[in-house]
């Protein structure tokens, strides 16, 4: 009896002193591995090119005299060429992430709480209609014509040919299809997307980047939010439905407020992806809508990479993201990928 009581009082997480020392040593070792490269960035941003190229100097004031020359160059000399990409990154990052999280959580909610049974014929009709719409738009006809024609074809096929098909796809198939879209290497689709935006005359604009980022990050949001919604208790929604609330109202007033930790964590996560994206931005933008990752890469001059400028740029790039991560830390703890636990 006494033994049992003692074991119960021992918290699972109580650890012996030697274990604690070992744990701290390991944690500090990895913290050093993470932080040293960041420290090196900070130090490099305070050096002159000559000092960078002269060899490793570790400690400012002891090994070298720190200077703000690089910071001055990035903020004053480059000036507009720093602020415009920065603005682009902020606008494109926040807008695309907001849209992605909204559309993605709607789809995820539908996949969790509603039952889809789409016949294969309907799917094919839909694809055919969408193909016609895209085709018309690419052929440079006005886009309302394209959408109208596509929708008409869809309805026509749906009510004729598709009637016969019995085989269907369910929620699981839809979810797997969405997630499998992440398997597409961007390099495989970027050329047609380039031509598509060229036809729409959207190249080098915020719009093109926002649309492309929404499309490529939607699967992640669906993936994460679907599992999160599954962990939200259904009883509240049921009682609201019995009280006569519409599905939209239930989603907005009950489900979304309950899912805030998951939404915040997902938002931060997708924002990091959009903020740092390089390949799509490289193809779709040139001067006006250029984002910061391209500015970083552009510091690689013919004489070799200008590390001092790059360091400044990387630091000002991660600044806001780190601030958000620290501010939202408690959400990350609870919300980030709670769903992943479910698998």
């Amino acid at each position: 009896m006494a033994i049992i009581r003692r074991s119960q009082s021992v918290s699972v997480n109580t650890i012996s002193f030697p274990m604690m020392v070992v744990s701290y040593l390991l944690l500090l070792a990895w913290a050093f591995i993470v932080l040293f490269p960041l420290y090196w960035l900070a130090v490099t941003s305070l050096k002159t090119p000559i000092e960078v190229n002269a060899g490793p100097f570790y400690v400012p004031w002891r090994d070298f005299q720190p200077t703000l020359d690089s910071w001055h160059y990035i903020f004053v000399d480059l000036g507009e060429d720093t602020f415009r990409p920065y603005l682009n990154t902020v606008v494109v990052g926040l807008t695309s992430t907001a849209i992605t999280v909204i559309l993605g959580s709607m789809a995820a909610y539908g996949l969790v709480r509603m039952r889809y049974r789409v016949t294969l014929g309907a799917v094919l009709s839909f694809v055919a209609g969408l193909a016609l719409a895209v085709g018309v738009i690419v052929a440079h006809l006005p886009w309302p014509v394209g959408l109208g024609a596509g929708f008409a074809l869809f309805l026509l096929l749906l009510n004729t040919v598709a009637r016969r098909s019995k085989r269907g796809v369910g929620n699981d198939d839809i979810a797997f299809w969405m997630i499998s879209q992440r398997m597409l290497p961007p390099v495989a689709v970027v050329i047609p997307i380039y031509i598509f935006f060229q036809q729409l005359e959207l190249l080098d604009t915020w719009g093109a980047l926002i649309i492309a980022y929404v499309a490529s990050h939607l699967p992640i949001v669906v993936w994460l939010m679907r599992d999160y919604f599954q962990s939200v208790p259904i009883e509240l929604e049921e009682s609201a439905a019995i009280d006569g609330a519409s599905p939209y109202r239930i989603f907005r007033s009950i489900v979304l407020p309950l899912a805030v930790p998951g939404l915040v964590a997902t938002f931060l996560f997708v924002l990091v992806f959009a903020w740092n994206e390089y390949l799509i931005a490289l193809f779709l933008t040139s001067a006006n809508a250029q984002t910061l990752p391209l500015t970083v890469a552009a510091q690689n001059a013919t004489r070799g990479p200008q590390w001092w400028y790059m360091s400044v740029l990387i630091l000002i790039m991660i600044g806001p993201v780190i601030a958000m991560a620290i501010a939202l830390e408690r959400f990350i703890a609870r919300g980030l990928l709670v769903g992943a636990v479910k698998g």
Binding site: W30, L35, G55, V134, F196, I211, L336
Partner: protein, 381 residues
């Protein structure tokens, strides 16, 4: 992902939705899901089909636009048997005893798995075909890796990408799991570690690449004293193929370990306390608690995170492009970088063909992983 269905949710909701009646609400399902479906369809299927067509053509820039000339499977033939096959598949060296042992072991394992399935009661024609495809594909990839990496041969971009993904994901998983287990203990300062460990993930991959170029520089990097001691100051370690690949892999591990760390941390933290406490009461030690309780319970989360990293890992491009520019020669080129270099040489059709080969490999690995491993794990939980 698809193995998991909340049947509870469906059963209950159906009855409650039915009580809602008609009107716009009837279409709520479509309203919720269609925007996402349209966006994803528009930006995956059609570009994909267009790319497929481009990969079968030779694209030339003519006056006032481009000219597409249909060439059939020429672009693919070039990669598999033609002038680019050493670049793509690599150069197989003569088999030595080690590689023969590895090959025999690998093929033995594949054969045994297939045999076990054929003998099992639950086999279906579809399942058998699927497994035959998996065994064949895995066999080909195994031969490619072994015959180019473990011999005097030279690995091509397919093999290099596979090596990156295999090594990176395993190391990231082990490190991420270890760190999550360390942070989950109630030590003072854990919140600090939690935020700090996330940092590498938040840097743009291009930035990480330049950062590691700086760190690995043998004459001006911070490890200079180490290189002096080893007498390596004059050689840039990126002139050695495996040294260069190691640099790329270290950068990737540094950047993406946080991702696995944070998901596994969330998974471990949300485990029910009672289970672990019960194990403690029963006198289990830490080692037993981990292997008998924690690890099986986080296996579904592990399988998800490994799947995400597998898929994303195949797209590696920034690190090798910046860090080593694919060199020395093509030693560090990943498939995406391969496609990109061909694209820069204005062989758009060839580039699309490489991208398609990448898509085939990713799909093969991803779908095999989901069907053979992940589904079993999630069904168990």
């Amino acid at each position: 992902m698809s193995g998991y269905v909340s049947t509870r949710g469906f059963r209950l909701t159906r009855s409650s939705w039915r009580s809602l009646g008609a009107g716009l609400d009837r279409y709520a399902g479509a309203v919720f899901i269609l925007p996402a479906v349209i966006v994803i369809l528009g930006f995956s299927i059609f570009p994909l089909l267009a790319s497929l067509y481009v990969s079968l053509t030779r694209l030339q820039f003519a006056a006032g636009g481009v000219e597409l000339k249909f060439v059939g499977f020429n672009n693919y033939a070039k990669l598999l048997v033609g002038i680019d096959h050493e670049h793509f598949l690599g150069l197989a060296g003569p088999l030595n005893p080690v590689s023969i042992v590895v090959l025999a072991a690998g093929y033995g394992l594949l054969g045994w798995l297939l045999y076990r399935y054929v003998r099992s009661a639950s086999r279906t024609p579809g399942g058998l075909i699927g497994r035959l495809v998996v065994v064949l594909g895995a066999g080909v990839l195994l031969w490619l890796v072994v015959s180019t990496v473990m011999t005097s041969g030279r690995p091509g971009t397919v093999v290099v990408t596979l090596v990156y993904v295999g090594v990176d994901v395993s190391v990231q998983y082990l490190l991420g799991l270890g760190l999550a287990l360390l942070v989950v203990q109630h030590l003072p300062g854990r919140r600090f570690f939690r935020v700090v460990f996330l940092l590498p993930m938040m840097i743009t991959p291009v930035g990480v690449a330049y950062l590691f170029q700086m760190l690995t520089n043998t004459s001006i990097g911070p490890l200079y004293p180490l290189w002096v001691r080893l007498g390596l100051t004059d050689v840039s370690w990126v002139t050695n193929p495996w040294g260069a690949r190691l640099a790329v892999m270290i950068g990737d591990v540094w950047q993406w370990t946080p991702f696995i760390f944070i998901i596994l941390l969330a998974a471990i933290e949300s485990l029910p306390h009672e289970l672990v406490e019960a194990a403690v009461v029963d006198g289990a030690n830490r080692w037993q608690i981990f292997w008998r309780v924690t690890f099986p319970l986080i296996l579904p989360a592990s399988s998800t995170v490994v799947l995400i990293r597998l898929i994303e890992g195949f797209k590696i491009v920034d690190l090798p492009n910046v860090l080593t520019n694919g060199g020395p020669g093509t030693a560090t080129e990943s498939l995406t970088l391969h496609a990109y270099t061909i694209w820069r040489a204005l062989d758009i059709g060839g580039s699309a063909a490489v991208a398609y080969m990448l898509l085939i490999v990713v799909t093969f690995v991803g779908v095999s992983y989901v069907n053979l491993f992940r589904r079993r794990v999630t069904a168990m939980a």
